[in-house]
């Protein structure tokens, strides 16, 4: 394996009695997009904050670009681009000024930053908004401006904390397109997200966190194959719950490897969907949806269907 660009070893963070991150280790290879998924409160944002030196871990080590945290925090950050969960754009500056002012925090001179501004705005599809202030931008535009701002120092590694939360599908797809472009340019990305399709589309590798611990790690397709049956049949409607519970339907249930109930919906996980679908066809009052198992199924299997306290 290549020397990692970024590596965390045995990170731990506690707030009082509450362990937020527990013995977490991971590495990011050059050119890789590592996705971090987990329910609210799983420790994703705390992990990113530790990676940025904003909060000190109680144990463990972080190295990046051959440099050590916390000693070289500022030198490490000089090579990072960050998009945080909440936009921190300057409301008093227009888009171009936002980029200029932000570049100065990296020690760049106005003469160095100015030529980059049109390129960055074009990348963010904001060339026509150079003079607009963030307050005049849509949610998607703001996020893209945040991304452009994170690129002002031409970073090697991007850390993106839920970059598409709250965006409409068009804005989300544009963001994905841009992130794909960056990966093609050879940049590396650490991405946290709640969107499983986003994780599957962008990430070469995934880290599943729950209660601050790493509970799975691997390529999205491999993780699904490893933990789940390939097919899912969702059943809704009057009498769906009976299929999952009643004695008389035991034979039907035997056609599935695993049966899960969530609310009024029954999920059948199976390697052979056809016999199951045929049997379900007898029940005319039910609606069924047959689809391949996806990352969301994996996520829910690993972290449960319960709503989290802060979810």
């Amino acid at each position: 394996m290549n020397t990692p660009l970024f590596e965390c070893q045995h990170l731990a963070k506690r707030y009082g009695e509450n362990t937020v991150v527990d013995d977490l280790s991971f590495r990011i290879a050059p050119g890789e997009c590592l996705g971090v998924i987990g329910p609210n409160g799983a420790g994703k944002t705390t992990t990113i904050r530790m990676c940025l030196g904003l909060t000190a871990p109680d144990a463990g080590s972080i190295t990046a670009f051959g440099l050590d945290m916390p000693r070289d925090t500022l030198a490490i950050k000089a090579q990072l681009g960050v998009v945080s969960q909440i936009d921190t754009l300057d409301p008093d500056f227009n888009c171009a000024e936002n980029l200029l002012v932000y570049g100065r925090y990296f020690g760049m001179s106005a003469a160095q930053i100015r030529p980059r501004i049109p390129q960055l705005l074009e990348f963010a599809a904001l060339s026509h908004k150079a003079d607009a202030k963030p307050g005049e931008l849509s949610g998607g535009m703001k996020r893209r401006l945040s991304l452009a701002r994170a690129l002002v120092n031409d970073p090697q590694l991007l850390m993106l904390d839920e970059p598409t939360t709250g965006l409409d599908p068009q804005a989300r797809h544009l963001m994905w397109e841009r992130l794909q472009q960056l990966l093609q340019q050879g940049k590396s990305i650490l991405l946290t997200t709640h969107f499983m399709d986003e994780a599957e589309r962008l990430c070469s590798r995934l880290l599943v966190l729950d209660h601050g611990r790493k509970i799975a790690e691997g390529r999205p397709r491999e993780l699904i194959a490893q933990h789940l049956e390939p097919d899912v049949v969702e059943v809704y409607g009057n009498g769906a719950l009976a299929l999952a519970q009643a004695e008389e339907h035991a034979a039907l249930r035997a056609l599935a490897a695993r049966v899960e109930v969530s609310g009024e919906t029954v999920f059948f996980y199976t390697a052979q969907a056809l016999p199951l679908l045929a049997a379900l066809g007898q029940h005319h009052q039910l609606r069924t949806l047959h689809r391949p198992a996806n990352l969301e199924d994996l996520f829910l299997k690993l972290t449960g269907r319960q709503i989290r306290e802060d979810g």
Partner: protein, 276 residues
């Protein structure tokens, strides 16, 4: 506690680690302010001017002259000069306090500007330093504008005003450091009302801005001796009267101790706030 844990959790009280990276943060504030400088100038001058006109000319007509003790013995001073030299210290205090409380809090907590800055290679220590110096600059700006008005009104023509100018910058810095302590503790803007009504306003009346401190009861005066605004007024007023301040080094030292202690405390509390 093992050594690993210790090495990972630097104390909030460790020595400030400052670098030149405060400058782009200061520059950011300057650029925003440039957009609003003219309206802000009006606000900065109008209020102190109203005090001066209402009290100085209104009360001045009643009071006439105020007698204050100087190394040369008791001196009678026109009330308007007495008030102007005190109220300019108050203006420095107010300008710095407003900036380091309401405006800094907006940037820190509401707009999350500080969080954005700290995602770049700028440390929290440098951000706090920049805010401190920025609030000091805002005080200097107000003071300069008011001084020009006072010169225009012919209240003082002392050449020592040139020296009062950097002293007032120092006064602004002292109060910006103190205000940043409260900024670090604030959960909302309401908190600052307490600071103004319970701390700054009483201090205005106890520091010899409006009337000589000789009028105060002994105990109150003993407390007043150690208030930062008192020491600021004791330094600045003689300069307005073209005299040298008595015990200048003592007053400067008191202000310096407030400044250093408050900056350190503000930094420790802000580090604590941001460590979560």
């Amino acid at each position: 506690m093992n050594t690993l844990t210790q090495s990972h959790s630097p104390s909030h009280w460790s020595v400030p680690r400052l670098s030149g990276r405060w400058w782009p943060v200061f520059l950011r504030n300057l650029l925003v302010w440039k957009k609003l400088a003219i309206p802000s100038l009006v606000g900065n001058i109008a209020e102190p001017l109203m005090w001066l006109v209402a009290f100085g000319y209104g009360m001045g007509a009643l009071v006439g002259q105020v007698t204050i003790s100087t190394p040369q013995g008791d001196t009678a001073v026109p009330y308007i000069l007495f008030l102007a030299s005190g109220s300019i210290c108050m203006s420095a205090m107010n300008a710095a306090s407003f900036e380091a409380l309401y405006s800094a809090f907006s940037r820190m907590h509401v707009q999350k500007t500080w969080d954005g800055i700290m995602n770049a290679p700028v440390s929290l220590d440098d951000v706090v330093l920049a805010e401190m110096l920025w609030a000091g600059f805002k005080a200097l700006f107000s003071v300069t504008a008011i001084m020009f008005v006072m010169l225009g009104l012919g209240i003082s023509h002392s050449p020592k005003l040139l020296l009062a100018w950097p002293v007032l910058l120092g006064v602004g810095i002292t109060f910006s450091c103190i205000a940043l302590v409260f900024n670090a503790l604030a959960q909302g803007y309401d908190f600052f009302t307490y600071y103004f009504t319970l701390f700054l306003t009483p201090m205005m009346f106890l520091s010899g801005v409006f009337f000589p401190r000789e009028q105060l009861p002994g105990v109150v005066r003993a407390i007043s001796d150690w208030l930062p605004l008192t020491n600021a007024v004791e330094l600045v007023r003689p300069l307005f009267m073209d005299q040298w301040p008595e015990q200048a080094w003592l007053h400067a030292a008191v202000l310096l101790v407030y400044t250093v202690a408050a900056f350190w405390l503000a930094l420790a509390l802000t580090r604590k706030r941001f460590s979560r």
